[in-house]
């Protein structure tokens, strides 16, 4: 069948695997967005910038402090998460009682500032980041670099750990309830502001994690965030933010779809996700995993 389409099956499987790697990034990023959106009802426009900061944190740790990749993998998300916490406490916090629109606008403004500062400091051509896992596996149908294999594993583990933490524990209901009526949840005896801050920090840390994870295979550059975040937004619209699990699955799924488009119709690979988004909106406006209002 593949031969009919002019694609040998090996190439087909290889592209599918690569699609999965991309999907891994989409999943972690849309998961972070879903966590933040789920709790603060804020579309975190800075998510892309924070992803970029994660990559740069890795770069800086490596070049100036000699921290190897594996150290950075732990430290960078913490650093980025901490920056997120500062943003939440000093700025976002003052907007919760307002229309959600303002959260979006604030984070959009922050994107300009953060990206601008990094551009100012590091230029735009991007920085090299050594590959910590040289070599690769011969899967029969393709040569899969070890590092890409690791990306898939790492993202699956992080995604499902997060899912478990949020959906299978009491924390999840606190978070969801706090979105609707933070004052009431607090009046039940839960320290909502602290919970909100930590969750935002956690969501941001996820973006940071995706950033370091991407550093060795995508150029570390100040613009890397904006390019990917618009796609992730589309992923989120398709998935519908209905559930944490939905965000994860949609992420992987769209990575695969995009991978296939690259083989069959490469010209459309930058738009395929947007086209799917339009179709989903026409057929199922609330998204694949969203609940109808």
């Amino acid at each position: 069948m593949f031969e009919l389409l002019g694609i040998p099956p090996q190439a087909f499987y290889a592209q599918l695997t690569l699609g999965l790697v991309n999907g891994a990034f989409y999943a972690v990023l849309s998961l972070g967005l879903a966590v933040i959106f789920g709790l603060l009802n804020v579309i975190n426009f800075t998510h892309g910038a924070q992803y970029m900061m994660g990559a740069f944190a890795g770069y800086i740790l490596l070049t100036y402090f000699g921290v190897p990749y594996w150290g950075a993998l732990v430290l960078a998300p913490i650093i980025v998460g901490a920056v997120g916490i500062v943003i939440e406490r000093t700025m976002l916090r003052h907007l919760y009682h307002l229309d959600h629109l303002y959260g979006l606008l604030l984070t959009f403004g922050l994107v300009l500032v953060i990206e601008g500062l990094f551009r100012q400091q590091y230029g735009v051509s991007g920085r090299p980041f050594p590959n910590p896992l040289q070599g690769g596996q011969n899967l029969g149908f393709m040569f899969l670099p070890n590092y890409r294999l690791w990306v898939i594993v790492a993202s699956v583990v992080v995604c499902f750990a997060t899912w478990y933490l949020i959906e299978q524990t009491r924390l999840g209901s606190y978070l969801r309830a706090a979105v609707e009526r933070p004052d009431l949840v607090q009046a039940f005896g839960i320290n909502v502001p602290v919970m909100v801050t930590l969750t935002y920090g956690f969501g941001v840390a996820l973006a940071g994690f995706a950033g370091v994870l991407a550093a060795p295979i995508q150029v570390v550059s100040p613009m890397m965030g904006m390019n990917i975040i618009i796609v992730v937004f589309a992923v989120v619209v398709i998935g519908g933010m209905g559930s944490i699990l939905g965000a994860i699955i949609t992420g992987y799924f769209l990575g695969l779809v995009e991978g296939l488009t690259r083989v069959f119709y490469p010209e459309a690979s930058s738009t395929v996700i947007f086209v799917i988004m339009a179709i989903v909106l026409l057929i199922r406006p609330q998204g694949l995993f969203g609940k109808a209002k």
Partner: protein, 331 residues
Amino acid sequence: MTAQNRTLIAFIAFIVIALVAPFFLYPVYLMKILCFALFACAFNLLLGYGGLLSFGHAMFFGGASYFTGHIAKVWGWSPELAILAGTACAALLGLVAGFIAIRRAGIYFAMVTLALAQMFFFFALQAPFTGGEDGIQSIPRGHLFGIINLRNDMALYFFVLAIFTFGFLFIYRVIHSPFGQVLKAIRENEPRAISLGYKTDNYKLITFVISATFAGLAGGTKAIVFQISSLTDVMWQMSGEVVLMTLVGGMGTIFGPIVGALVIVTMQNYLAAFGEWVLIIQGVVFVIVVLAFRKGIVGEFTAWLERRERRKQSAEKEAAAPRVATKPEHA
């Protein structure tokens, strides 16, 4: 002074200033402000009165700019017809995009419009007639109605001013129309509006299309003024810029978008020397406005006027009232 009187006075003042300004200031700069002001007014209709935040308005602005540019340059139509045609294309584009986007509300709406605009960006990048990253260059300004040579900056300026004034008044009328009233109600409580028998999707779609149309009018005009249509006009940064203008000026106010466009365009012009800092400064302005001056310049100003008036009124009342009103503090 009633709000309506204030609007009238402000409008007259604006027209007077606009008529004399080109004799003192660089006309091209003024035209740029007018184009962006119209763009922002169109955007403000959707956001400020319809409650719909579109993060993809560059699609209509830039789309019309491309169509106008192509039609004027390749087909050789006269500028007013080219602009009209470009505007019509934007309206059509608005119809399609709106039809998809209004299926979601709130921040989803913002994301959907952003994504659609990004799709349009890729289209503009790859479609042959747009000239890819070079854009359509050296679009002829041509002769208005075949007579008035628009290569003259002054002549062009008054043409642009006329377009702007038309657009501005039209949008003003939409806001203050029976339609506008329903629109505000939908923004407040959509299910209730439905239960009153309003097909809210139609209202949102019409608003979206009107907004797209005038964004297109602004884009088409800009193409003639600058003789260029480029990818810049369809990029997400452009969508962000118009949000910023509206926000800085004051969303949901009549004159806010004009003031916002003035401030942002001027800032871009004069900060151009600061190079990389322009975007950062813009970002900082964004953040400050969102955190501290949400009403925007015009919004804060009217609020201040109203406060002052109320204070004056209560002072008058007190003065008019007999002594009894001022009871001794300690009984």
